[in-house]
């Protein structure tokens, strides 16, 4: 088993340059016809917008004063590097990524390992129940956690008080807002947990038996068999989580509103883009922010794909 992104490998490219027969041409035409919704959609919603975005990024296009659009050259790009709010957006997103990414990678592995453990009784029920929070719509989840984290009436601080710990102001202290966001995020790893669990269940039992014969303990088995076998899922999660973090918006917006409270701590890059492009209608600058985001994501994914050949293990004999 491997993850979906194993498709994104150059060795999957096949070029055939044989002359097509009439029948083959017919088949290809039918095929293209079936692909056409996606092909048209790709041009309409991906390629077209990206080109348009690039063009807009060299203008001062504003929806409120659309007649006055002018070419401004690199002014938007210059603004992006001097705009203190954009800087805050980048720093806040990076700071959050530094905390959220490792936890987002580890949590599904730990949960899947618990659910895959031979000592667990009623596995299926546990799996469903651990998955359950992922079904909760994000807006509801944010409000539930907001209540849980209330300093006076929330259960978290009531519990901490009961064991004689003074609970923090989770949502209004600049230091605590990131852990709080991470805690809210604990509820949305269900899919990754299921992928990881399915991959763990697919590991051939002979491997574990052989390891046991060699005297490997539980930890050594996990370290030397389970972990290498799930690296494709870890890789998949790493990429999707990175993309998720660069466009992190809903949770801070619903939880703390559009102003980055407390004290700019939730002024994520996505919030900045939203405000500039859609609250102030500065489409030119918004497009610039979007393109820089795209370049950043591109570099990160290329790096991750490059790094994957050193640590992602694809079992032999699989294409």
């Amino acid at each position: 088993m491997s993850s979906m992104f194993s498709e994104l490998s150059l060795k999957n490219l096949r070029f055939t340059r044989t002359k097509m027969t009439k029948l083959a041409r017919r088949e290809a035409l039918w095929g293209l016809l079936f692909l056409s919704p996606w092909l048209i959609g790709f041009i309409l919603w991906v390629l077209g917008p990206m080109v348009a975005s690039l063009i807009f990024s060299f203008t001062d296009f504003n929806l409120l004063h659309r007649e006055e659009m002018q070419w401004v050259g690199l002014a938007n790009y210059r603004l992006l590097f001097t705009d203190p709010n954009a800087r805050t957006g980048v720093l806040v997103s990076l700071r959050f990524a530094a905390i959220a990414l490792p936890i987002g990678i580890l949590q599904p592995i730990v949960m899947a390992a618990l659910l895959n453990d031979g000592r667990l009784w009623a596995k299926r029920a546990f799996t469903t129940l651990f998955y359950l929070p992922s079904i909760v719509p994000m807006v509801s989840a944010v409000y539930i956690w907001q209540g849980m984290m209330n300093t006076q009436t929330g259960w978290i601080n009531r519990f901490l008080t009961a064991i004689n710990i003074a609970g923090p102001d989770w949502l209004n202290a600049r230091v605590w807002i990131y852990p709080s966001l991470v805690i809210i995020g604990l509820w949305s790893v269900g899919d990754m947990m299921l992928y990881t669990l399915a991959t763990m269940q697919g590991v051939p039992t002979e491997l574990y038996e052989a390891a046991k014969v060699d005297g490997a303990g539980r930890f050594a088995q996990f370290r030397h068999i389970t972990l290498p076998m799930i690296t494709p899922v870890i890789f998949y999660n790493l990429i999707l989580s990175s993309i998720g973090i660069v466009q992190y918006f809903l949770v801070p917006f619903v939880l703390k509103g559009p102003n980055g409270d407390p004290g700019n701590a939730t002024w994520f890059y996505g919030m900045h883009l939203y405000k500039e492009a859609f609250a102030y209608s500065k489409m030119g600058y918004g497009a610039t922010l979007a393109w820089m985001l795209f370049l950043f994501v591109l570099i990160v994914t290329i790096f991750l794909f490059w790094s994957s050949k050193y640590w992602v293990f694809y079992p032999a004999g699989e294409e």
Binding site: E7, L8, A28, W45, P133, I135, Y143, F294
Partner: protein
């Protein structure tokens, strides 16, 4: 008898101990440990439920129990008196209503037996704990339902979700069929492009898309939330392709030999065998649309009449943020339908998820 067996065959019991009892003990401890984790993980559901059934004093009063309760009272001779937990000389607690309060000695009445007359009790009544009785505020839900205009939110959300669902299922089926069953020059390149669009953040394309919808007059309508779904998406095409690949090709070849064209083959061979995958795609889209916040925020922010539930709940809670019970009641109304749907189609749903993420 049992004793004798045990003493006469010690080797047998110790091996039973080793083989049966010890693993059972390990299972019990480990399961208990995971159960504790699960309880903590799901405790916010408990918080939501009990808070949604409270009123303000039940939430804020420091001594109030976890469950929605109010101090019990008893009506005696036309007057209402609070009920306390009163210990008698043997230390047994009684639920008695206080009818005359004095510093050192008070008069109580037993609500279970009021005819027995007043009871004198020596002690300071202020040290007594009040008796609580369960009193869930079910009316919170009807109030939240009305204030949210839940019927309108449901109508809008269902409309957006179902139209988008039809679009997604149709377009993704067709595209996945094209990718699995036809030799097309450059297909591998196209497929790689398709998969790589998954990595593309929506923020990257949102600005020109917004301008486009504004230009063609779709702002303030549901169309931007419906129409793009008729053009397939990587995630669901991938899921369906994975599924179609498991259907033996001989079956469509047989249909082709019988004279069925490509469309006919899709409808009569592929689709009937892919029902679970199609349902999974439909549910995924439904859940996604129910959850979608950013799209309606951009395109429907001025159209209160057309807003779906995610936006409705957020607007409601901007007004009611000072009333935690209302916030929780609305959160509960927001998750009821997705949760029900999940339990109804749990297996298809969870298998479908595994199918998209893990390639066999």
């Amino acid at each position: 008898m049992a004793n004798r067996t045990q003493s006469s065959r010690p080797a047998y019991t110790s091996s039973v101990l080793r083989r049966r009892v010890r693993p059972a003990l390990a299972t019990a401890t480990f399961t208990l440990f995971v159960l504790m984790l699960l309880t903590a993980f799901l405790s916010p559901f408990g918080y939501m439920l009990v808070t949604a059934l409270k009123d303000r004093p039940m939430i804020t009063e420091s001594g109030a129990p976890i469950l929605p309760s109010k101090p019990a009272s008893f009506t005696y001779e036309g007057e209402e008196y609070p009920v306390f937990l009163v210990p008698d000389e043997n230390g047994n607690l009684h639920e008695w209503a206080i009818i005359k309060k004095r510093r050192e000695e008070s008069t109580f009445i037993d609500p279970k037996n009021p005819d027995a007359g007043p009871i004198q009790w020596k002690g300071r009544w202020r040290t007594l704990d009040p008796s609580w009785e369960l009193s869930p505020m079910w009316e919170n839900f009807s109030y939240a339902w009305e204030q949210l205009n839940m019927l309108r939110l449901l109508r809008n959300t269902l409309l957006i979700a179902v139209v988008g669902m039809i679009g997604t299922v149709l377009s993704c089926t067709v595209v996945a069929y094209g990718f699995t069953r036809f030799r097309i020059p450059g297909k591998s390149v196209l497929f790689m492009i398709l998969v790589s669009t998954m990595i593309l953040p929506t923020f990257v394309t949102i600005v020109p898309t917004y301008i486009l919808f504004e230009r063609i007059g779709w702002m303030g309508t549901m169309l931007p939330l419906m129409v793009p779904h008729f053009f397939a998406n990587a995630y669901n095409v991938f899921l369906l392709r994975q599924y179609f690949l498991t259907i033996p090709r001989e079956m469509d070849e047989a249909a082709m030999i019988d004279g069925a064209g490509p469309v006919r083959t899709l409808i009569s061979v592929i689709l009937p065998q892919s029902v679970p995958a199609l349902i999974a795609v439909g549910i995924f889209h439904f859940m996604w649309a129910w959850n979608d916040f950013f799209g309606p925020l951009l395109y429907l922010s001025t159209e209160i009449d057309l807003q779906p539930i995610a936006i409705g709940i957020q607007r409601f809670n901007q007004q009611f943020s000072a009333r935690p019970h209302m916030v929780q009641a609305s959160a509960l109304l927001g998750l009821l339908l997705p949760l029900t749907l999940f339990f109804l189609a749990q297996r298809i749903f969870m298998q479908g998820i595994v199918f998209t993420g893990v390639e066999k």
